[in-house]
Structures are given as structure tokens and as C-alpha cells.
Amino acid sequence: MELLAFGDTGWGDELFYATLMTIAVSITAMIIGFSFAAIFTPLKLSKNKFLNLLANSYTTLIRGVPELLVIYLFFFGGTGAVMYVASIFGYNEYIEINAFVTGAFAIGIISGAYSTEVFRGAVQSIDKGQFEAANVLGLSKFGKFIKIILPQTLRLAIPNLSNVWQITLKDTSLISVTGLVEIMRQSYVAAGSTRDPLFFYSFAAVLYLLLTFFSMKLINRLEIRYSRGY
């Protein structure tokens, strides 16, 4: 137990901050994923063949390629890509992107592909009559989306989004390969310096279980709230 003491003698505080880091990366990645979903879901639902193809290639590519490979692409290629873009604007100094941004972006793009599929499914399962009724009421396109479609989409999407959240949370463990100090990385360091990998990796597993358990509780409450009236 002294291995988990707070302060200089144990790994308690380090693991605590690492847990906060995992939560921070997961939430950031989820938000980035939602932004991607916000762009690609309309493309997926659009009648334009080209836009459809674009959105389908995004989701197929991301869902068919291992997360670790995507992370390596961002880790090794991210700096080069940013510096290339900067050089177009005439900035030629070395730019270092920090591990948090790279990691959150890589996981966010992956999570976005899953979210896109979830939102597409949710919009498609809304009753056609709802769209027609909104049209009959003379709502503007924007009003129709905000007042009629979005609330129903959210209600239908929450159960599946909770799966996406779990996947995202677990995927953040892979960012440890880039050196970002989250639960997995911190356990790796602690296991290396104390020569007690069994304890620290098991403890990491417990931390992840706690995170999934409590986030599920929270999401269930959200689900109930959004299902009022049904």
C-alpha cells in the first residue's frame, strides 16, 4: 500500500494526476470527435454522391485501420505536416506539437468516425412524419434542425454514444506510446522503477474500471433525462 502513498515516497499523487490526464484527453478527444461528426454526418446523409463518398471513405478508413497505426501516423507525421503548412505561410522555424494535442487529435479522429455512424443511424431512425410536420409548420431549415431534429437525434444517440465514449476512454491508453503521461504511461514508469509491474498494471486496470463504471452511471442519468416524455 505504501507504493500508492501521496508525496515523494509513493506513486499515489502521480497516478491521480495521470487519471485526470486520461479524463482530460478522453473528453477533448470526444469533443474533437463530435466536431468531426458534425461535419461528416450531414455529408453522409446528403444526396450528393461525391460528398457521400468522402464521408464513407473517412468512416471506413478509420474503422478498418488499427488505432495504434493512426496514432503512429500522427506522432511521427504531425510535426512534419504542421511545419509544412507553416512553411507555406513563410514560417520556417521548428515547431514542436505537444503530446496532448497529437494524442487528443488522433483519438478524436477515431472517435469521430464512430460518432458519425451513431448520429447517422439516429437521424435515419427519426420518423419521416417529424420532418414533414416541421415543414408543414413552416419552420426554417435552421429552426427545423435545432428544435425538431437535434433533440430527437440526441435522445436516440445517447445509448450508442456511451459505447463510443467507452471506446474512446480505452483508446487513450494507446497514447502512452507517444509519452503523454496518462494512466498507462504512469503505470509503466512506476512499474519500471519499482520492479512491480503486476501491482501497477492491475491498479491501472482498476482505475479504468472505475472510470468506465462512474461514467456509465452518469450517462444513464443523462439518458433518463433525455427520455422524459417517452
Binding site: 478498418g64 503512429y72 506510446v177 498507462m184 520492479r195 468506465t212
Partner: protein, 224 residues
């Protein structure tokens, strides 16, 4: 774009893909048995057996695969007693450690898939079997299991693809699978995009094949 690198690295990556496929096949076969076993335990009326099977699938589905591999590969070696048993022959090899982790992980998901498939079988089917005088054992093996497998094909297809992506984690325990080799080439040449295109292409091709095989099986075993 460095096309020469792409062409040169293709055979190396293809060789590594064979290792990925090996890892995938062995863990899927073992995982299917583990999953079937735990699905049956989940349907048991005994609350302890039931809860045990639920706990297994909860823990393995609630923690990242990476943690599971690390516990098995780095963690179990720490137990002195294990080093003296015959198990050590298996556990000192990263290859088998990875397979054990993958099999237990996919087993947890498979058990959930099969459980829900068993539960959706209409009671009438079982009753029909009983009224024909077929023993419960035969009903289970010849009626319930085939129907459950058919029911779970779409979900299991997804699980196969998820597991294929999961095998990339073998590269974290020194195995040179497709992702491992891709990372090696990237870190020696610093050409991430080219290597990503080739390695990702091979992964996508495998996904495509698996997807179509499952689709074919679904059609073949559909009820009508």
C-alpha cells in the same frame, strides 16, 4: 511521396501481415471457445456462476486491451511460483502472452454476443424439440447452438474486425506484426504517410475480406 519506399516496404509489410493473421486466427479460435463457455455460464441459474461470468466480461470489456497484455506479459512473470511451473514455458513467450490476452478479451465480447443470441431464441423452438422427444442435450447442441451462431453472425463479424485491429497491440510486447513493422519502417525512414498508406491499405484489404466472408455466411445461413 516516396514511391520507391512504398514499393520496397510492401513485401516486408505483407510478411508481417501473415503474423497479424496468425495472431488473429489463433486468438479467435481460442476466444470462441472461451466465449461459448462463459455464455453458457451466464445463462446458468446459479447466482454465483452467473455473477462470476458477468464479472469476467465486465472486467475485460471495461479495461483497455493494452492493460490486459501488460498484466499478462510483464505482470505474471513477477510471480515467483509461476516461473517454476510448466506455465512459464508459455508465459515467457511474448507471442503466447499476446494470444492469451487477445483470446480472453475477445472471449469476453463473444460471450456477450452469444448470450444475447441465446436469449433471443424463441421458446417455441425449444418446446418443439422437447415435444418431439429430443433430449435436452441434443436440443442444446443441435438446435440452440446453430441458431445462436446464425443470430450472432453480424455482431461477431464486427468483433472479428475489432480484434484484427486489436492485434496491432502485439507490437507493444516486441512482436513484429504489421503495425510493429510499420512503426519500425516509419521510425527509421521518417516517412510516416507513405508507410501508413501501404500498411493501412493491407489492413483495409483484410477488413474488406472479413466483411465479405461474414456477409456471405449470413446469406448462406439465413432462415429463408
Amino acid at each position: 511521396m516516396d514511391f520507391e519506399l512504398m514499393i520496397n516496404s510492401f513485401p516486408k509489410l505483407l510478411n508481417a501481415a501473415v503474423i497479424t493473421l496468425k495472431l488473429l486466427t489463433v486468438s479467435l479460435v481460442v476466444g470462441l471457445f472461451v466465449g461459448l463457455l462463459f455464455a453458457i455460464l451466464r445463462l446458468n441459474k446459479n447466482i454465483f456462476i452467473n455473477k462470476f461470468a458477468y464479472g469476467y466480461s465486465y472486467v475485460f470489456r471495461g479495461t483497455p486491451l493494452l492493460v490486459q497484455i501488460f498484466i499478462i506479459y510483464f505482470g505474471l512473470g513477477q510471480i515467483e511460483y509461476l516461473r517454476t511451473t510448466f506455465l512459464w514455458v508459455i508465459l515467457k513467450e511474448p507471442y503466447w502472452c499476446a494470444i492469451i490476452a487477445f483470446a480472453l478479451n475477445t472471449g469476453a465480447y463473444t460471450s456477450e454476443i452469444l448470450r444475447s443470441a441465446f436469449q433471443t431464441i424463441k421458446p417455441g423452438v425449444i418446446e418443439a424439440g422437447q415435444s418431439l422427444g429430443i433430449s435436452n442435450k441434443i436440443i442444446f447442441y443441435k438446435i440452440q447452438i446453430p441458431i445462436a451462431i446464425r443470430q450472432s453472425l453480424p455482431a461477431y463479424g464486427n468483433e472479428i474486425i475489432l480484434m484484427m485491429k486489436g492485434t496491432s497491440l502485439a507490437s507493444t510486447v516486441t512482436l513484429m506484426d504489421l503495425t510493429g513493422v510499420a512503426k519500425y519502417i516509419i521510425s527509421t525512414t521518417f516517412k510516416p504517410i507513405e508507410v501508413f498508406i501501404v500498411a493501412g491499405g493491407i489492413y483495409l484489404f483484410m477488413t474488406f475480406i472479413i466483411h465479405n466472408v461474414i456477409k456471405f455466411l449470413e446469406k448462406k445461413y439465413s432462415f429463408n
